[in-house]
């Protein structure tokens, strides 16, 4: 499963290694497994909604709730976060020219906290959505599923914090003295900014989780109105962590696109400084917009306006990245290999997601779209369109580095087109579904023609996406074993520098 430079090691040595590329590999394998099994849940959800009424694919509404809760939790915390950490583990020490991460054992610890957390989330299958919104989550949500979810997330939070500390120290303290920070790759900046955001954001949710748990035990009543608590307080704590989390998911993906686009356009980045500035700007304004998830909770007009402006402040920063990518491609000799196709496709879907986001941001319009399928379409276009596309593009780009072999280029392009068409079909139509009034998180919907047609387009898109994912995983597995050996200095034959493969050799 892994490229060896000198001699193959036994599998257990890779499993329990503390070398950054081994841990990076473990992160990537775990996250792709999570992506596949979480995707299977999504296909079940979409197939169930192909027609109104109970299709029997998911037996009852209760199971439906458990499935979409696990799908959401899994995709965010077990696919997006670990994958970014995995790529970070592979590349950060190479990019800052250090032999490993600053604390290799801490690094391994951070990884090995994830599988138990994953087991808790998946075996429990809680039903209170990935928001775990009180008062339902503290008064009625059945255990032990809810407790398992709370502890699973707690462990994942600690793992993220340990990983972030390691990244920050590696980048700032272990960087080669001859390498100024402003000469490092933008991916290094992305991981640095993300790690700092994690350190600021996660503790709030960590506190909220403990409060949630003691509320469930009946010791406290922070969010329990019957004991004088306030459920809205939970939403503030939750979104203070998880609005920035959106950028925590996105910024590594943006960093990966910065790795891909200049290489395949065979031009230097249009403006390195604006990329750095936009990362920092995103990180700051990411903390000034959390309450835009809560416009309909009865805030005052002034509060809503403040958060509306705070949210709109993220638009210039995101637009700077998009402009930077477009300007880098402009006039370049572009080779549309699979990674580049994913990056450009992600850029297009990011544009749609952002355009829809402006509607949500505009507080009066948000009252129309709130809690409807519009929102589902919007954030999926973002996490699937931009982030997952960047991740899938980057795993193709890094494939020769990991395995020493090339993936099948034709299969890679088939993957891209299936996913691009499928994802557009699913999530663009879901915007319309929301405007027609279909609420989120529903097992059934009213049997009227527009809703049925839109849901069916969306479901067919999901099946196309599933086909794309099947091609992807088959390509990855078979090419890792039997693919053509890659030219390790320039595997894509684009005349650009590739990562130094000798770094694969474990030194301890």
């Amino acid at each position: 499963m892994v490229l060896e430079v000198k001699k193959p090691r036994p599998m257990w040595e890779i499993l329990f290694s503390t070398h950054h590329t081994d841990i990076g590999l473990l992160y990537i394998v775990l996250s792709i497994v999570a992506f596949m099994i979480g995707g299977a849940l999504a296909i079940a959800i979409r197939s169930e909604l192909f027609l109104p009424g109970n299709q029997g694919i998911i037996p009852d509404p209760n199971t439906f709730h458990r499935i979409f809760t696990t799908h959401g939790t899994n995709m965010l915390f077990l696919w997006l976060l670990p994958f970014a950490s995995g790529i970070g583990n592979y590349l950060i020490p190479i990019m800052v020219r250090y032999k490993d991460m600053a604390w290799p054992k801490l690094n391994a610890t951070a990884f090995w906290m994830i599988p138990p957390a994953m087991a808790m989330v998946w075996l429990g299958m809680a039903d209170f959505t990935w928001y775990a919104t009180p008062p339902y989550s503290i008064l009625r949500a059945p255990g032990p599923a809810a407790e398992m979810w709370i502890f699973g997330l707690k462990i994942l939070g600690i793992s993220s914090i340990l990983g972030s500390i390691n990244f920050i120290v590696t980048i700032l303290k272990m960087k080669h003295p001859d390498l100024p920070l402003m000469k490092t790759s933008l991916f290094v900046w992305a991981i640095l900014v993300t790690s700092i955001m994690i350190l600021v954001a996660i503790p709030t949710f960590a506190a909220a989780l403990i409060m949630l748990y003691t509320d469930r035990l009946g010791i406290s009543g922070f969010f329990n109105p019957a004991m004088g608590g306030d459920p809205i307080a939970y939403q503030h704590l939750f979104w203070f962590t998880f609005h920035p989390e959106v950028y925590i998911f996105a910024i590594p993906a943006i960093g990966m696109v910065y790795e891909i686009i200049p290489r395949f356009s065979r031009k230097p980045i249009f403006s390195y400084q604006s990329g750095v500035a936009a990362f920092i700007l995103l990180a700051i304004v990411g903390f000034a917009s959390w309450a835009h998830h809560m416009y309909s909770t009865g805030m005052s007009f002034t509060e809503k306006t403040v958060f509306m402006i705070g949210t709109l402040a993220a638009v210039p920063a995101s637009a700077m990245h998009v402009f930077n990518w477009t300007a880098t491609m402009w006039g370049g000799r572009i080779r549309f290999r699979t990674p580049m196709s994913f990056a450009v496709g992600g850029l297009i879907l990011f544009f749609y997601a952002g355009a829809g986001g402006i509607v949500n941001t505009a507080m009066p319009l948000d009252f129309l779209t709130h809690d409807s399928y519009w929102v589902v379409g919007h954030f999926h276009l973002f996490v699937m369109g931009l982030i997952t596309f960047a991740f899938l593009g980057f795993i193709h780009y890094l494939f020769p580095f990991i395995t020493g072999r090339m993936y099948n280029e034709k299969a890679g392009m088939v993957t891209f087109w299936l996913l691009f068409v499928g994802v557009s079909m699913i999530f663009l139509t879901q915007h319309v579904l929301g405007l027609y009034g279909q609420p989120r998180r529903t097992f059934d919907y009213i049997a009227v023609e527009p809703l049925i047609i839109m849901n069916q387009i969306s479901t067919v898109g999901a099946w196309i996406t599933a086909a794309g994912a099947a091609v992807f995983i088959t390509n990855m597995i078979s090419s890792a074993g039997r693919g053509k050996p890659a030219d390790m200095r320039d595997p894509f034959q684009i005349g650009e520098q590739y990562y130094d493969y000798t770094r694969r050799e474990p030194h301890h």
Binding site: V2, V33, A119, L123, L139, P142, P225, A226, G298, G481
Partner: protein, 271 residues
């Protein structure tokens, strides 16, 4: 770069790849086996929250067909309160039981006094020992609106009346009532009934929660510092009821809402 060319590159082999897949596959299979086997058990326990009150069942309707009238303690002394409730309302078709709570013999005999020729014709309990209850007495051939005088044969100064009323209203709280309808916690459903409610200053309003979850009736239009200053029932579970006293409210129109579900709003007019 040149030095690297001399190093042998060992590629991932199909054997190693399949060994990796086996590790992943076995892990997933174990997980799936546990998940499928214990799927329902993972979802079995309600949270151990001590403060959850089981919704108190609504007070039982007046027992099928019986109305109890107490013979109050001390009623043998002339001038004391005697029958309770005095002027009782008996739903049509109900049986009546007199409950002697005094420490001496009493009766309840229809008529105005012992000299009434019709005395004891409609009903008669006979002598009731201290603490005893009469047999259920059924009134034959009565209709809504009929009124009976009755008295105690031992203490003729103890007199009272009972009136036959329509059966449906029996047991319902009298006076103005705000019902919180079942299902009102769902946004957009009908919530308070009647809305608006008009009452006279000084009336006591009963608020009956017919839903299955917590609600409040709190004055104001939305949660805020001013909410609940004039009247507020506080949180109460389904099946319970609360009272709002309008004695301190000036005649005006008041908005009220539910603190748990701020989209539930209503109006109250005090005249």
């Amino acid at each position: 770069m040149d030095s690297h060319d001399k190093e042998p590159i060992i590629l991932t082999s199909p054997g190693r790849m399949s060994r990796g897949l086996i590790i992943v596959g076995i892990t997933l299979a174990i997980g799936a086996a546990i998940s499928v086997t214990f799927f329902d058990q993972m979802f079995a326990n309600p949270p151990p929250v001590t403060q959850i009150k089981q919704p108190t069942p609504p007070p039982p309707p007046p027992q099928a067909g019986t109305t109890t009238i107490a013979i109050l303690a001390g009623s043998s002394v002339q001038g004391s309160p005697d029958y309770g409730p005095d002027a009782a309302q008996v739903p049509l078709g109900n049986k009546i039981v007199w409950d002697n709570q005094d420490n001496i013999l009493h009766t309840a005999t229809s008529g105005t006094s012992g000299s009434d020729p019709d005395s004891g014709k409609a009903f008669k309990t006979g002598f009731l020992d201290a603490g005893a209850k009469s047999n259920p007495i059924e009134l034959a051939d009565v209709k809504v609106g009929d009124s009976f005088n009755y008295f105690c044969e031992v203490h003729p100064y103890m007199t009272s009346t009972l009136t036959i009323v329509a059966a449906e209203t029996g047991g319902a709280p009298s006076g103005p009532t705000i019902n919180i309808l079942a299902g009102s916690s769902v946004q957009g459903s009908p919530d308070y009934d009647p809305d608006p409610l008009t009452v006279k200053k000084g009336d006591k309003i009963s608020v009956v929660n017919k839903d299955n979850t917590l609600h409040t009736v709190t004055d104001g239009a939305a949660p805020g510092a001013d909410a609940g200053k004039l009247f507020d029932t506080g949180f109460f579970e389904g099946g319970q009821s609360k009272t709002i006293d309008t004695a301190n409210l000036n005649p005006a129109e008041y908005n009220y809402f539910c603190q748990v579900h701020p989209y539930m709003t209503g109006k109250l007019k005090v005249e």
